[in-house]
């Protein structure tokens, strides 16, 4: 059956072919989505060629090993994937309003939608957003010049992009699997899902999962080894603490994903019997191993968001974070306990009551440190002077909405109740209720907060507020009604339902989804409009919010090497203390030569070859798989022989740059918080607490 050159690939695998044979709405949506990918690619290529941007793109971005650029590229990648994920969410909601005994899409198509949507949102939106944020911010917060392994960092990004690419290709060539983001066998074994869809998932997840493991190692080692002199662990900013815990969780959780995915791959490609119905296969082990990863994963994405809230609560209240030590303990506790609760995703598999009870109680215990964090943020605002800027608005939205997601989490942690609402819309409501007000609001707050650091200008405040309110309203309408549907028994992943009483809730949800798409539109418009007005929004001195941590002591955007001279730290909130009692914006006693990594194409080569390998195995094109694998090995070996991997920036050059920056800082008037969003705010903050 498989051709030696093209494997099982032929012309009938595109949705266009289906559309010509069956021109229905269902196939139309599929064909339109499939056209968007090549059309989008062509548009981007045309634009880059027209503007002559290929050279800069290659030199300054794709081959760069600078952690700041890599962080931004993670965001771009996540943004592109998010567009697709959000549209899929909106299409699903549209389908479900029409789904009383039917629906505009076919059941199969709906299944592909929730599978790609879930996969994309978890692995190619939430995870890269978080990784990108940590990549950008952590070295700046700990006073480092780069991450510990810059080239490895680039390779991690390449692997994540390779996985994302495979998911995008599946839209055009062949179809994605229909087993949800969890892809439970035996449904996803070759007996029941013989096509290439599940293979796309397996290789996209397998490849990007390795990328995430490596990213975790990189960030953890960076925090362990690259802190500036004097920055003891208990002086690190809370965001760095949450990043450390997240990185450690990535190191220990992603291997379980790699194993469960590899086993599924062996079952599918080499006929192994890990999870099959027959010959002693054991599908329960898939659930077990997958959730050993899957549960920590949800805290991997939420912990840095908690970290963002800690930073902004302190900054915008102009006050120290309340009870730093409790925050550290709570963060670490969440990270460790999250490895003891994975069974709560399959309370209903049939194991004994004592097993269920033990894991259920372990799950509930996480509510304690999480509660402490929530109360700590409130206590941070208490007795502060709280500025109701956009990040704080997200924090307030978080307070009101996230606690309900947490509450329903605690409800789900009770096995007896979970027997009822497991696999229902109640669960769908729970996880969107923690993922959106938790992770996404955190990331959005973080974007608003650090955007001026990365690009040298602030975002417009007005549209950003509108966007935030659309988020709150849209989210509430789109997901809170699902709790009711779940209690009424509606299963998740249902392409249709037969109870007309469900329809009003579906209408509320589709309106909510539309508002959320509107929010996304406002966000995109705001990026564009702020870039257009970047002169008026500029803050080159780099401290537009009267920040408290080291990243605000350097210009915006920061120089390639981050710090002119490595800062010496002897307290938490080092920059605030420096501004209050020390000597901000002063020359360093001594400058040294700085070694920075040279650009390299390793990330592109390894990422590209991995994507080719995944594609080849999906379609049984064995020669290409072997070739791509050989390229990966050869590239790794060849890299070892490269002699010049770093480039030196001379001390005088650094000194001159620093002098120029200090001159600019002293020329720029310091602004108080009244003028925070006025054009006068060029990033030189007048501290709230004077010396």
């Amino acid at each position: 059956m498989a051709d030696p050159i093209f494997g099982r690939l032929d012309w009938t695998v595109t949705p266009f072919d289906d559309f010509f044979r069956d021109p229905s709405i269902n196939e139309g949506v599929a064909a339109a989505a499939a056209s968007a990918v090549p059309l989008g690619a062509v548009a981007v290529i045309a634009f880059l060629t027209w503007k002559g941007l290929w050279g800069p793109l290659w030199r300054d971005w794709l081959t760069s090993a600078d952690h700041k650029k890599i962080g931004i590229m993670y965001f771009v990648l996540a943004g592109v994937m998010m567009l697709r994920g959000v549209l899929e969410g909106a299409v699903m909601r549209t389908h479900q309003v029409t789904a009383l005994d039917g629906g505009v899409l076919s059941a199969e198509h709906f299944a592909q939608l929730f599978s790609t949507h879930g996969t994309i949102m978890i692995f190619f939106v939430a995870t890269p957003l978080i990784t990108g944020l940590m990549n950008y911010v952590v070295p700046l917060q700990i006073g480092a010049r780069d991450v510990a392994f810059p080239v490895l960092n680039q390779i991690s990004l390449g692997l994540t992009a390779a996985g994302a690419g495979l998911v995008m290709i599946s839209l055009v060539i062949g179809k994605f699997g229909t087993g949800g983001w969890t892809m439970y066998p035996p449904y996803t074994g070759t007996t029941f899902s013989p096509g290439p869809g599940v293979d796309y998932w397996v290789w996209a997840i397998g490849i990007s999962g390795i990328g995430s493991t490596l990213a975790g190692i990189n960030i953890a080692v960076t925090i362990y080894k690259k802190r500036s002199p004097g920055m003891k662990f208990l002086r690190m900013p809370i965001f760095t603490w949450t990043s450390l815990c997240t990185a450690i969780m990535m190191i220990y959780a992603f291997p379980a994903l790699t194993v469960s995915t590899a086993m599924l791959a062996l079952d599918r490609s080499l006929d192994f019997r890990f999870f099959t119905n027959d010959l002693g296969g054991n599908m329960m082990q898939y659930a077990n191993i997958f959730w050993m990863f899957g549960h920590p994963e949800v805290y991997i994405v939420v912990l840095p968001a908690y970290g963002v809230f800690s930073e902004i609560a302190a900054t915008f209240s102009a006050k120290r974070i309340y009870s730093y030590n409790s925050m550290v303990i709570a963060t670490s506790a969440i990270a460790v306990i999250s490895f003891t609760v994975w069974l709560h995703h399959f309370f209903t598999m049939g194991q004994g009551a004592s097993v269920n009870a033990a894991f259920g109680i372990a799950t509930m215990i996480i509510a304690v440190p999480t509660g402490v964090k929530v109360y700590n943020w409130m206590a941070t605002m208490f007795r502060g002077r709280v500025r109701l800027s956009v990040p704080i608005i997200y924090l307030v939205g978080f307070f009101f909405l996230f606690v309900f997601g947490g509450l329903t989490g605690v409800i789900l942690a009770n096995p007896t109740i979970d027997y009822q609402v497991h696999n229902s819309q109640f669960l769908v409501a729970h996880f969107h209720n923690v993922l959106i007000p938790g992770v996404l609001f955190g990331v959005l707050a973080g974007v608003h907060y650090w955007f001026p650091k990365a690009f040298g200008f602030r975002l417009h405040e007005g549209p950003a507020r509108l966007e935030a309110y659309l988020w709150f309203g849209g989210f509430s309408l789109a997901f809170l009604p699902l709790y009711w549907l779940g209690l009424m028994g509606m299963p998740r992943r249902s392409a249709s339902y037969d109870n007309p009483a469900f329809e009003p809730a579906m209408w509320l949800a589709v309106v909510g989804a539309a508002m959320v798409v509107g929010a996304l539109g406002v966000a995109i418009w705001n990026f564009w409009a702020s870039a257009r007005d970047r002169e008026a929004l500029a803050c080159p001195v780099g401290d537009p919010w009267d920040g408290r941590t080291l990243e605000w002591s350097i210009p915006s955007p920061p120089p390639e090497y981050n710090f002119y001279a490595l800062p010496r730290v002897n307290t938490v909130d080092a920059w605030t203390v420096e501004k209050a009692v020390g000597h901000p914006y002063e020359m360093a006693p001594r400058y040294t030569d700085i070694e920075m990594p040279r650009s390299t194409a390793m990330g592109v080569v390894i990422g590209g070859a991995s994507a080719a390998m995944g594609f080849a195995i999906t379609w049984w094109i064995w020669w290409l798989a072997a070739l791509s694998f050989a390229v990966i090995v050869a590239a790794l070996i060849a890299r070892a022989f490269v002699r010049e991997t770093t480039r030196t920036i001379k001390a005088v050059e650094v000194e001159v740059a620093h002098r120029a920056f200090l001159r600019e800082a002293s020329r720029t008037p310091a602004v108080g918080r009244d003028d925070e969003i006025a054009p006068d705010n060029l990033g030189h903050a007048r501290p709230a607490v004077p010396a």
Partner: protein, 100 residues
């Protein structure tokens, strides 16, 4: 300098000899057939643990002179590994018992 080399050499040699002895002990426990299965398993397990400790000390030089962060790393890994392996075995044996 030379002394250093000799004592380090001795350390590797001790490690190798101890490892070999422990391996032989484990093989003997299984191959001598004279022993109850559970006794043999206990011996194999104990010999394995002992050999891991020996190799960690003699070949990898993990010990009191190591950096704190390395010890933390290894201990943390052991804790999480134990949780995952132990949890899996507990869960799966419960399932096994209830799904005849």
């Amino acid at each position: 300098m030379k002394d250093d080399a000799r004592s380090e050499m001795r350390r590797y040699a001790i490690g190798a000899v101890l490892s070999a002895a422990l391996t032989l002990l484990a093989f003997w426990a299984v191959m001598s057939h004279g022993m109850a299965r559970s006794t043999a398993l206990w011996i194999v397990g104990a010999a394995a643990l002992a050999q891991i400790v020996v190799q960690m000390r003699c070949f990898l030089h993990v010990g009191s002179s190591s950096k704190r962060e390395d010890l933390h790393l290894i201990l943390f890994s052991l804790v999480l590994g134990t949780l995952m392996v132990g949890g899996t075995i507990w869960i799966m044996s419960s399932l096994h018992d209830r799904m005849y």
